[in-house]
Amino acid sequence: MQTPKVTRRTFLKVSATAGAAAAAAPKLLTAMEADLGGKDFGPVSGAERKAIPINCHVCNIQDGAIAFVENDRVVKLEGNPEHVSTRGRLCAKGNAGMWYSYDPDRILYPLKRVGARGEGKWKRITWDEALTELAGKLDAAIKEDPNTVFLKYGRNRTGGVIDRFMHTLGSDSILNHTSVCESSKKIGMEPTWGPDIETPDFANTKYVLNFGSNVLEASYFHNPLSQRVTEGRVDNHMKIVTFDVRLSNTAGFSDEWIPVYPATDGAVALAMGHVILRDELQDSDFIQTWTNVSVKELKDHYKQYTPEWAEKISGVPAATIERIAREFATTKPATLFTYRGPAKHMYGSYNEKACMMLPIMTGNVEKQGGYCLPRGMGWPQPQPQPPKPAKHAYMNNHRHPHYPLAGHGVGHLLPFHIHDGTVRINVYFTYQDNPVYTNPGARAVWGKLLKDEKLIPYFVSMSSHMGEETALADLILPDCPYLERWEPESMPNSLWPWLGIRQPVHKSLGESRENRVLMRDIIWKLDPDGKRGMKQFWNFKDGEDYMRHHFDNVPGLKEAGGLNYLKQHGVWPIYGKLNPATGKVSDKTGREIKAEYGLFKKELSAADMMGASVDGRGTIMKNGKAIGVKRNGRNYVGFPTGNRLINVRIDEWAKYGFNPMPTFKRIPWHETMKDDELVLTTFKLNVHKQSRTAAVKWLAEIAHSNPMWINTETAEKIGVKTGDLVRVESGVGYLVTKAYVTEGIHPKTVAIPTGFGHWEYGRLATLKLKGKKGDGSHGEEDPDLNNVWWDDKGVHPNDIIPAMADPIGGSQAWYDTAVKVTKAGPNDKYGDSHGDWDKHYAYFKEGMRYAYTGDMHRKMHPEMASWAGPDSVKHEEH
């Protein structure tokens, strides 16, 4: 037989005609990277690795994830393809999550302080010794006043365990971190339409107004939402317009980046509302039917907010405001998203409210491609539960006497109240918190407070890592990182609600204990025989047993298998299968699953209406609660507010002398800023969160320093170029850092990323080896650091940012600080950072003048001249 002669010419000819046959040939091999995920194989053994579904908890997006375990060790993390929101994708932070577990700086044993607070001298003690000492302190404190036992948490995803713990002790002194996070966004939204956040339907929209969110990288739900932003842009050809002081990567991805003067987003939004109402572009039917104001009221109110007025305040040209307003109102569907940009200001709640009015007045609410309500799921608590404490604390996570509308607390003001003696502490607990680093004033305020043994006699940190706060503790109880603990989850991070879990992927390292077990053990030590009535609330064997109480009886999930189902899949329900071609979740027919819209238009059933009554405004009341609203003869469920409507006018705000209608207040000191003053803002990079990621090697290698962004024109004025040292001075302190000169920032603003410049959090975060030799106690001599190729750990800005609170929402005014920036002097050195307690205290007092009880409140609200003053409502204090 003669072998055919195959030349390049002949095989190319064959290939030109045989394509169909080749396509029809069986394909038994596929590239693994093109596969759906959910499986992984050891490169040496070839054996399939054990896949354990979890919820990621490096940050708080709560992505569905899978931990691949080989030899009882996590070797890889990736997205869970069965998770409807995150659809098999994890961000860089999520991929690096196992570093928390195996970090050589992790705390594995109970540690008792033996030197001065913060000196870094510890003694390892047994759990029994730790619990015995702690129980003694708690016993004494409870006998004196249970509210002197204080617990402040940072990230609390325990699903109710902390409240259970503190209520078991009889204490109401529970404080969160929300005021340094997003409280004024929440308070801008909650009284208006119920929930504290929106779910923009990016994937199906045609137009996005983005006020101050870096949704592609860092804002809430950045992973699931950035997927939808990309789909909207690519598949739906949507336009995106970003208002931001800084050219974030989201702003860069946008069709238009419009730099706006800090804290003036609300003015721009109001002026856009003015244009929409003036030009009759509003959805009158929606306003009349679903809000508590008429179109006429709204038009009359918005007349004052002209684009020219907004231009003077924000620097955004009136013509741009006019154009964008018309584009937004005439493009259907359209949506809007905000994050910290508008909200983290002295009057952030007003800004947030002004922004959310745009989708409301254009009727884009709860429509495909519109501005949707969040979707979430709940779970029951194990029974019995401890009763709520009889006596209110002075301040906690939803109460402060000077900030009665701040339903998420004003936690960042706590040090000043402890200093003043209004809050008294016997035992101070901290859980996953680090205000010495993350709060305004940082070490100048919180560091000083927590070092003071008279004000904080006993300080207990429940932590897996030695953060700046934990380093000051008297007793450290080793908590488990997220891969080693049980926790219930549900997050409204897409239009499909879900329940999920975190579950231990292996035995916890060392002697660390997960939070619910740790707290149970404290209670059991306090009440070993149950005679004090405490133990009954902690009657569970372990974390898994506790989770069964949560999940084994949830309707629907129960039939699917309850907790066992979640252990196997990580999430419930599973809506469909991830389609590798589209990256979307499809049903059995291959079609993308569709979200449900118009939630507020669901009609109440006859059974629901049994025994209900309808008041004059159409609110349907049953058993003293509003369950719906009657509109056009139909009984709808409406919005989850007190009257089941969208409250454009918030009467509760008026009671405290705040403007109940959408409005804007300029930051008083911004109006009087001198030419050489700038506004200091901060931001997060995509690979870090506020505090806890600096110790993660993979992430630290990607980003480890944080030069200050400054506009080209501004930098030229002071003679600074990229890399030069600059001195940044605020009213409470100064720091010295490097400049990064760029056109990508507003000329009147400078911006410093957070998450850098640690002085604790382990050897990698502090890079102490790189500095002069210290006392030998913090890894200064670890030669492993020679493998770290960078010398620069960055400079933390919070020492020089004063604590001020939004008088409505309670939010820290992160982006309002006026600073002077100059070239560094001969005595300035990189990394200098100094804040002054007295000056911080003076700023705190100044901020209190803007609270409803303060003298500046009236001056800021001349339109509320008829308000009867603080004494008229003080009796209503919660």
Partner: protein, 277 residues
């Protein structure tokens, strides 16, 4: 140093051979037991905080004299402190150096991989199980590849070697001897010498400084005596030299906008990023 301390006679064998073949049975048994004692002693120093009993046993005049003869130079913080105070001071030093954030955990996974619970943890556990050992917590939980546990394991094997020799079971003794060598090559030999140097320089108490010196010297001695060729890969010796070249990005710049473009990349003294990977 160690041979002198333990009165072990000079071996007559060359490098790569053991002295055992020239020694009497009794000498071989005695040597095994003596070595096991040193392993246990060092294990006791590093496996957890030193107890009062342990310290009392160490501070007997005879033992101190032996230590001195072996070249260990304890300071007054160890020699003269009341034992309760000494135990307290050492517990603080132990936590600072070995058990609290920022210290140097005496754990092979950390020293070789920069993190807890990596492959050595599982390999050592499998080895212990293969020899029918179970790891139980003492005063605290410990990892399988913790220094004290690894040393204790060799001590146990040496006891078994001695027992086999007494029983005339030369085959088992040889097998166990090989196991010890294998364990040194796979584990102890890869990290304890560098680690001992690190603790010697970092410790602020003469007890740990001198016990680290003892550990380092003992390790050298054991490796030489067993004729092993194993490089220390502990990160205290593995120093990555800095490359003195310009790269296409400036580490001091933000991660975005860091590239300086093609023009500068074409310059001769600029190395492309991919070349450095």
């Amino acid at each position: 140093m160690l041979k002198h301390t333990l009165a072990i006679p000079d071996e007559k064998a060359g490098v790569g051979e053991t002295a055992a073949i020239f020694a009497t049975l009794d000498e071989r048994v005695a040597e095994c037991r003596a070595r096991a004692t040193v392993y246990r002693l060092l294990s006791g120093a590093f496996i957890e905080e030193a107890s009062v009993d342990f310290l009392n046993a160490l501070r007997t005049p005879d033992t101190l004299a032996q230590f001195a003869e072996a070249g260990l130079r304890f300071d007054s913080d160890f020699l003269q402190a009341p034992v309760a105070d000494l135990a307290e001071a050492l517990s603080v030093e132990y936590a600072t150096q070995f058990a609290a954030s920022g210290g140097f955990p005496p754990v092979e996974s950390v020293r070789l991989f920069g993190r807890y619970k990596q492959e050595p943890n599982f390999q050592t556990m499998r080895t212990y199980q293969r020899h029918a050992f179970a790891l139980r917590p003492g005063r605290h939980e410990v990892f399988a590849d913790q220094l004290g546990v690894e040393l204790l394991f060799v001590a146990e094997l040496l006891d078994r070697v001695a027992a086999a020799l007494v029983d005339g079971d030369e085959a088992t003794a040889r097998k166990l001897d090989k196991e010890i060598k294998r364990f040194w090559v796979q584990h102890l030999g890869r990290w304890v010498r560098g680690y001992a140097g690190l603790i010697e320089s970092a410790s602020q108490h003469s007890f740990y400084r001198e016990m680290a010196r003892f550990l380092g010297g003992f390790a050298d001695e054991e490796i030489a005596t067993m004729g092993l060729a194993v490089d220390d890969a502990d990160q205290s010796k593995l120093v990555v030299p800095k490359v003195d070249v310009k790269v296409e990005f400036d580490p001091n710049e933000p991660v975005c906008n860091g590239c300086v473009g093609d023009a500068i990349a074409r310059q001769d003294n600029v190395q492309a990023l991919h070349d450095l990977r």
